[in-house]
């Protein structure tokens, strides 16, 4: 029996010691916002915060957590950086299929919590563990900058430039 401190609540879970946090969250606690993508920490879809740091929950055994607080996508909006990131994600309309976005937002929120104004290289370092097959990376980068700077990133590059010639 383990006692999990997740999103500010204590949850007792009777699971094997080697069970990854991902499956405890999804199948036992019932928090399905954290996603399964690869099971080997390659894609980042399962990213949660452990004591404020972004970790891959698919390879984190429950027995390694102890009493460290776990935050998932369902509660990240309660933190200042999480709220800013979610708002920027909406303002820039980052999501497509949306499946990887829980993990993207968790990685971005952890980045901004410790680096208030990240450079492109810092964004690369923090976010390159999160795969998005829809290819929303251009907007992810813009959204992180917007969340950090509070300044609207001009993303909308669609620029009507005249009319088409007659076919």
């Amino acid at each position: 029996m383990y006692v999990l401190n997740v999103n500010g609540e204590r949850r007792s879970v009777d699971v094997p010691a080697d069970m990854p946090l991902l499956w405890v969250l999804r199948d036992i606690v019932g928090l399905t916002g954290t996603k399964f993508g690869c099971g080997v920490a390659q894609c980042g879809a399962c990213t949660v915060h452990l004591d404020g740091r972004a970790v891959r929950s698919c390879v984190l055994p429950i027995s390694a957590i102890g009493d460290k607080p776990v935050t998932t996508i369902e509660a990240v909006g309660k933190s200042a950086s999480g709220q800013k990131v979610q708002q920027a994600w909406l303002d820039i309309d980052v999501v497509q299929c949306g499946y990887c976005q829980s993990g993207q937002i968790m990685s971005a929120a952890a980045l901004l919590a410790r680096t208030s104004n990240p450079s492109d290289a810092e964004i690369d370092a923090a976010m390159s563990g999160n795969i998005c097959r829809c290819g929303t990376y251009v907007r992810i980068r813009a959204a992180i900058k917007q969340a950090a700077g509070g300044k609207a990133e001009v993303l909308q590059t669609i620029a009507p430039t005249g009319s088409a010639g007659a076919p």
Binding site: V15, M19, W23, R26, D27, I28, G30, T32, G33, T34, K35, F36, G37, C38, G39, V40, A41, Q42, C43, I73, E74, Q86, L90, D93, V94, V95, Q96, C97, G98, Y99, Q101, S102, I105, D124, A125, A126, M127, S128, G129, I131, C132, R133, C134, G135, T136, Y137, V138, R139, R141, Q156, T157, I158, P160, T161, G162, S163, A164, G165, A166, P167
Partner: protein, 763 residues
């Protein structure tokens, strides 16, 4: 599957001579063309309709029985709430938002006033007109629904206005609508749609309804936020994998690694000793473990001793498949897709062979299905591009009538064509039949890649004759590969056996070339190796070959690739405008580039849209490719949501660039070698270039968008690499070894690496 009955103005043309004008008038291509050009007749037309259909009453009754449900898409309650039923599925392409914009534009409601629902499986009500079935694919959703969804909104609005006008005893034409309210400005009276719902629901269907003049659009053409963003950002969107049914257990599965292999037997002693393991289930070619949770199921599966019969494909390899394909390209019987004029006797001959690999889809959400089979019914929860095909399959497997199969479609964590297949659903139903409780079957990523239904491999022999100015006077392309359509919808194959998808964007090129011959040689893969649709379908394959070859021709002619294409586009002003726009925006002729940096152009007309992409790439001395910039020019006709247009081109491009840089499925000992994102790599944010989109406004009907970026990506990249290195890549993915500057470059990377080999902090 039912196929679309050609519209009155769609005349099937002879297979050897495709009417290009008519095609572009229809704004169709790709998958849709493959279906339409099948020229079927006499089949039941299952196209969707803006007005009430015989099946509508039952569908509305099952959907909360709202007082006003004038058609399959609109439900208005007495309290004024508006629900819109989405005929297509949402897998990231933004169609829920686009469909809502088309409906809401004419219905007269705000995007903040609506809720959306997944359509239930129902061919009569939700069949895509261009595909003749309830299918989301082929970049058809906007093209196929552009008229009918606006009309559906207009039908509802007309009835609500009529109801208000009757109550007020005024002329309906003196009423206006906005934000779910009918107003009569003359008498300053207003009524909400909720108050009118019951009366409107009792009215007869209107005849012809007026659609807005595009200049009056308030939603269409604007960059609007997606209707599914808020939930997705909060992590509360329910994807198929998130479904939780009371009493549900979780299963994971392993199929025989070889194509078509069988399960001989298992020893499950160690598995059954694992806490949380509930059952071990066997199928013909697979075994599954059911657990209280995924971890128990996965541990249980890993602990199984399994004996497989590897079957006839046990020695299959990529090399053998390639060899057979190349042989067929020479010895096989070609089917002529298009032939114009005759091959001249003189000119400079240029020839090349291009090869494309098999590809997996690797949707972020691994395949999964939740199924509950009882004696009375079979209930399925899944995100699928083909809900009615899944229902039919489940009926076949359970022996239940289709009315007893209840399928709840879900948001899809990516589709890319993989969820056009029902194999994983069928497998889950087979497994669920063996137990009495609901089970959610989740494929591991390893299973997802090893048992993908892959994009076919291709072997194309392309050639051209150049006149003394270097212009092509003849172009020939012999495409050899498998057919997806031939398995997926054999009735849609051409009478001469042609799979039109295999020649899309090769049989018709934007350029003025007087003589040409494009043909296809069918080469089926060995039994058990099934090939499937992959984002961009035929155009993704053909545009790489044709646009790379155009670059080869320019090089042979000693011409700049931009000038060379310009000269051949003088009769095609819409595409010429795109070429010029992209070139201007990237500064083609003005900016000097450093050594081993190059730019590559690709131009195409896929899916009823037109696109030109210029990629700027740097190739390191060690052969690594760095994407620096991608500038796209697009003419997609009328844009519905300009923000989605941008997102689809950006994302589609990155999907295509990712595949070109990294992706190739290979086979060894009859099994797929790749298994997860470490060996089936995907582009990451640190490898992503700046992507710019410039759109030419147009009043033409909308073109497709979900696959346009993907289809045009690879040739622009390969041409940029050629410009940077002089190395012509005639196969994908990019072969870095071929791009190494010289042997010293490889030594240098070792000498330059930081002492101590600092660990990657991202790991």
């Amino acid at each position: 599957m039912k196929l679309h009955e050609p519209q009155a103005d769609v005349v099937p043309v002879a297979d050897t001579e495709v009417d290009v004008g008519r095609r572009s008038a229809l704004k169709l291509s790709g998958l849709a063309i493959a279906f339409l050009w099948a020229g079927t007749s006499g089949t039941v037309n299952a196209a969707i309709n803006a007005r009430r259909q015989p099946g509508d009453a039952a569908a509305a009754a099952a959907d909360g029985n709202p007082p006003f449900a004038p058609n399959a898409f609109i439900r208005i309650e007495a309290d004024g709430s508006v629900r819109l039923v989405m005929p297509n599925v949402e897998m990231g392409q933004g169609i829920y938002t686009g469909a809502c914009m088309m409906l809401a534009e004419e219905l007269g409601v705000g995007m903040d006033q609506i809720k959306v629902e997944h359509a239930p499986p129902n061919e009569e009500l939700y069949s895509m007109p261009l595909l003749g079935g309830q299918i989301t694919g082929g970049s058809t959703s906007t093209r196929g629904h552009w008229e009918v969804l606006r009309e559906a909104g207009a039908v509802a609005r007309t009835m609500l206005v009529t109801a208000a006008a009757e109550r007020w005893h005024v002329d309906p034409s003196t009423c206006t609508v906005a934000r779910g309210t009918v107003s009569h400005p003359g008498s300053k009276r207003t009524l909400g749609y909720g108050a009118l719902a019951k009366a409107a629901g009792a009215l007869p269907m209107p005849g012809k309804v007026a659609l807005k003049d595009p200049k009056d659009f308030t939603l269409i053409g604007k960059p609007l936020r997606r209707i599914d963003s808020v939930d997705k950002v909060k992590g509360v969107t329910q994807f198929g994998i998130d479904v939780r049914v009371p009493g549900m257990k979780i299963a994971t599965v392993k199929a025989c690694p070889t194509f078509g292999g069988r399960l001989v037997g298992i020893n499950d002693k160690r598995t059954r000793a694992i806490p949380g393991v509930i059952a071990v289930l066997q199928l013909d070619g697979a075994v599954a473990v059911v657990g209280e949770h995924f971890w128990a199921a996965k541990q249980g599966l890993d602990a199984l001793d399994i004996e497989w019969d590897l079957g006839d494909n046990a020695t299959l390899s990529t090399a053998k498949l390639r060899e057979a394909l190349a042989d067929k390209s020479i010895g096989g019987t070609p089917i002529v897709a298009r032939e114009v004029g005759k091959k001249p006797t003189d000119g400079k001959l240029v020839e090349a062979v291009y090869q494309l690999p098999m590809l997996a889809h690797a949707t972020m959400e691994p395949l999964n299905t939740t199924v509950w089979v009882t004696a009375e019914k079979c209930e399925i929860w899944v995100g699928t591009q083909v809900p009615t095909r899944c229902v039919a399959a489940a009926a076949r497997i359970t022996g239940l009538p289709e009315q007893k199969i209840v399928l709840h479609n879900q948001y899809l964590g990516g589709g890319f064509g993989r969820r056009l297949e029902s194999d994983s659903v069928e497998q889950a139903v087979h497994l669920a039949k063996q137990v009495r409780y609901p089970i959610k079957v989740i494929w591991t990523r390893e299973e997802d890649i090893r048992h993908d239904i892959v994009r076919p491999m291709y072997h194309d022999r392309i050639s051209a004759l150049l006149d003394s100015h270097g212009r092509p006077v003849w172009y020939g392309d012999r495409i050899t590969g498998g057919t997806v359509l031939g398995r997926w919808a054999p009735e849609a194959m051409g009478k001469n056996g042609l799979d039109d998808d295999t020649v899309e964007c090769a049989a018709q090129v934007p350029y003025d070339i007087p003589n040409l011959k494009v043909e296809w040689v069918r080469h089926d893969m060995p039994d058990g190796l099934i090939v499937g649709w992959w984002r961009g379908v035929g155009p993704t394959h053909n545009l790489f070959v044709v646009e790379s070859f155009m670059d080869e021709l320019a090089h042979t002619a000693g011409k700049d690739p931009l000038e060379y294409r310009r000269a051949l586009l003088q009769k095609n002003p819409r595409s010429l405008a795109l070429l010029n726009l992209a070139a201007e925006k990237i500064g083609w002729s003005s900016n000097a580039l450093s050594a081993r940096v190059g730019r590559g152009i690709a131009l195409g007309e896929p899916f009823g849209s037109r696109v030109c992409l210029i990629v700027e790439a740097e190739v390191t001395p060690q052969g690594e490719v760095l994407l620096r910039r991608a500038v796209a020019a697009l003419d997609c006709g009328i844009a519905i949501n300009t923000s989605s247009v941008e997102a689809q081109v950006q994302g589609g491009l990155l999907f295509g660039l990712s595949a070109a840089l990294y992706s190739g499925i290979t086979i060894k000992h009859g099994a797929i070698e790749q298994s997860n994102f470490h060996d089936y790599r995907s582009l990451r944010i640190n490898e992503t270039p700046l992507v710019e989109l410039h759109r030419i406004e147009s009043v033409e009907p909308p073109g497709g968008l979900g696959e346009v970026g993907t289809a045009i990506a690879a040739p622009a990249l390969a041409n940029a690499i050629f410009a940077a290195t002089g190395v012509r890549l005639r196969s994908l993915p990019v072969d870095r070894a071929a791009l190494v500057q010289n042997s010293d470059a490889l030594k240098r990377v070792i000498a330059d690496s930081p002492a101590g080999g600092e660990l990657d902090p991202r790991a």
